[in-house]
Amino acid sequence: MMGPLQLAWKYVFFHKAKSLILIACIVLTTILPVAVKLLVWQFDQKIVARAASTPSIVGAKGSSLDLVLSALYFKQGAADPVPYSEVERARGDGLATAIPLHCRFTAMGYPVVGTSLEYFGYRGLEAVDGSLFVSLGDCVVGHKVAEMLSVGVGDRLISDRDNVLDLAGQSPLKLNVAGVLGASRTPDDWAVFVDLKTAWVIQGLGHGHQDLNKESVDSPVLMSNESGEIIANRGVVSYIEITDENIDSFHFHGDTSEFPVTAVLVAAHGFKEETILQGRYESSESEVQFVRPEIVVRDLMTIVFQVNRFFNANAILIAGSTAMLMVLVVLLSLRLRKREMETMFRLGCSKGTIAWLQIGEMGIIFGFSMVFVFMGCGWVWMVSGDIVEGLLVNAR
């Protein structure tokens, strides 16, 4: 059987272009649905794992999916904010640990997440370099952010302006990188974490400026200083960086309990406590909702799998069409090679051997195709985690 196989190999090798086109057809037809299946599987694994590690979320009423995406993937502007008082309410007399999340801003294109130190313990995140944020203006960068921006402890990150065309708007804030988180292969790798109060400073709800009490009466920035009420003009210096020297000048105007947070992660201390909390929110007439991310994400995945079924049907049809075209190519090829086969028959070749020759050629084509398919699938398998992570991160 070696003779026909060798001849088959020589035929395939001689007709490189034709063979490569056939291989490409088989590889593309096979690898696309397999790759999509792998990606969907990875997507399901990642998104469900992230959701499952987050028992419940409290946030503004509206789309539960937007709320979950905001809380899990730091998607900006997806969900309306709720007042900080909801964090206290979610703690529910000690029924749960409530972690605020405020995800409205970005720094160098990466989401700035205002939260509390409890978030790191809850997600199992640790600083591999430096420490977690300790004071106003500090930030802790995710593993990928540090890698992509080449920043480390002691470096500065500047928050992006909310609206670059609004010249009178809030100035960017220089954030001091206090630490770098270890890799977690979650969206946390792609975020910049600050204390919730720092997030509010970025939003303009708190600020620091030169101490007007220390200014002399004839200071050019003072417009009036009568009966203890100081009015300054636009010349007053506002700080865009929080330092040891100016940190005491930072202050908030208004009631912090009314300040915004995007969502509240709620980790009840037990099933009973969670049920009590859920009952409170369901019976409440307040403008907030209590959602279980895993349920929301599984609903989303049900839709994704339904769409995937259409894709699979499409892939089967394409595979069928490709198979029919391949049969046509083989039949036309046989017709073109009729004289060659006739010559072989005249030289004493059996019809069985001629069939083996054809089978060998197709076998080599399929063999190579399968090698490329396996290599491609292996590559997709290796990078699918990163691709899905990138998709989820970029979705924000």
Binding site: K10, T343, F345, L347, G348, S350, T353, L357
Partner: protein, 237 residues
């Protein structure tokens, strides 16, 4: 070597019929078969090689009655006893010269491809002036070279009978002469019988006998015995 008696053959759905009352060829003879197109020259070669089977009569080649062999035995008989050369050379385009010469060994499990066979193929090619071209594909050869490769392929199995269908049909006069000389030269070494179908009356001088198929058909229609002439090429020309 060849014994034919009362041969009748007809292709399905055609009016053509080959009738050959008698033909005997001795071992080592060089026979030319001439005649107009469609008179059955190539059909005779097919009948001798067992590719076609007679409707009646007997075709004995190398002592074997070809029509009585099974398909497999007929194929083995063809491999062992017969070498074939075609007008269009019929080389396999994706094989190099050496692989084309060795093709019968690649496609027949009854033949084993040994180093001796390879050496013999290289020697044949050398004798044909193809020594430096063993690695070339057929498209890289001239027509004369291609036909020489085809002759090597036909003779590599050392057949007792060499059947050549218009082997010089596509060649220039110089190449025609050289190709025939090579066939005869190699065949004489092994005392092989050579039967060549040709339209070309200019190449008949080297043959022992010429069979004119037009005369056979005329003779058959008239109910006379077949007459063949030995050594009368001069008269024909």
């Amino acid at each position: 070597m060849i014994q034919i008696e009362d041969l009748r053959f007809q292709y399905p759905r055609t009016e053509f019929m080959l009738q050959l009352p008698q033909l005997a060829v001795e071992s080592g003879e060089k026979i030319a078969i001439v005649g107009p197109s469609g008179c059955g020259k190539t059909t005779l070669l097919n009948l001798l090689s067992g590719i076609a089977l007679p409707h009646s009569g007997t075709v004995k080649v190398c002592g074997e009655e070809v029509s009585k062999l099974t398909d497999a035995a007929r194929r083995n008989f063809r491999i062992a006893k017969i070498g074939m050369v075609f007008q269009q050379f019929e080389l396999v385009e994706y094989l190099d010269v050496l692989s084309n010469i060795l093709l019968p060994f690649s496609i027949n499990s009854t033949l084993s491809l040994s180093s001796e066979v390879r050496a013999k193929a290289a020697e044949f090619a050398g004798a044909m002036g193809l020594a430096g071209k063993l690695g070339r594909k057929s498209a890289q050869l001239s027509q004369g070279e291609q036909q020489r490769v085809a002759i090597c392929r036909a003779l590599i199995t050392e057949p007792e009978l060499v059947l050549a269908d218009e082997p010089t049909g596509n060649l220039d006069p110089d190449n025609k002469r050289r190709i025939l000389e090579l066939i005869f030269q190699l065949a004489e070494k092994k005392h092989q019988t050579v039967m060549v179908v040709t339209h070309d009356m200019g190449i008949l001088s080297g043959f022992d006998r010429v069979i004119d198929f037009e005369q056979i058909r005329v003779a058959t229609v008239a109910g006379e015995n077949l007459e063949t002439r030995r050594g009368d090429m001069g008269e024909q020309e």
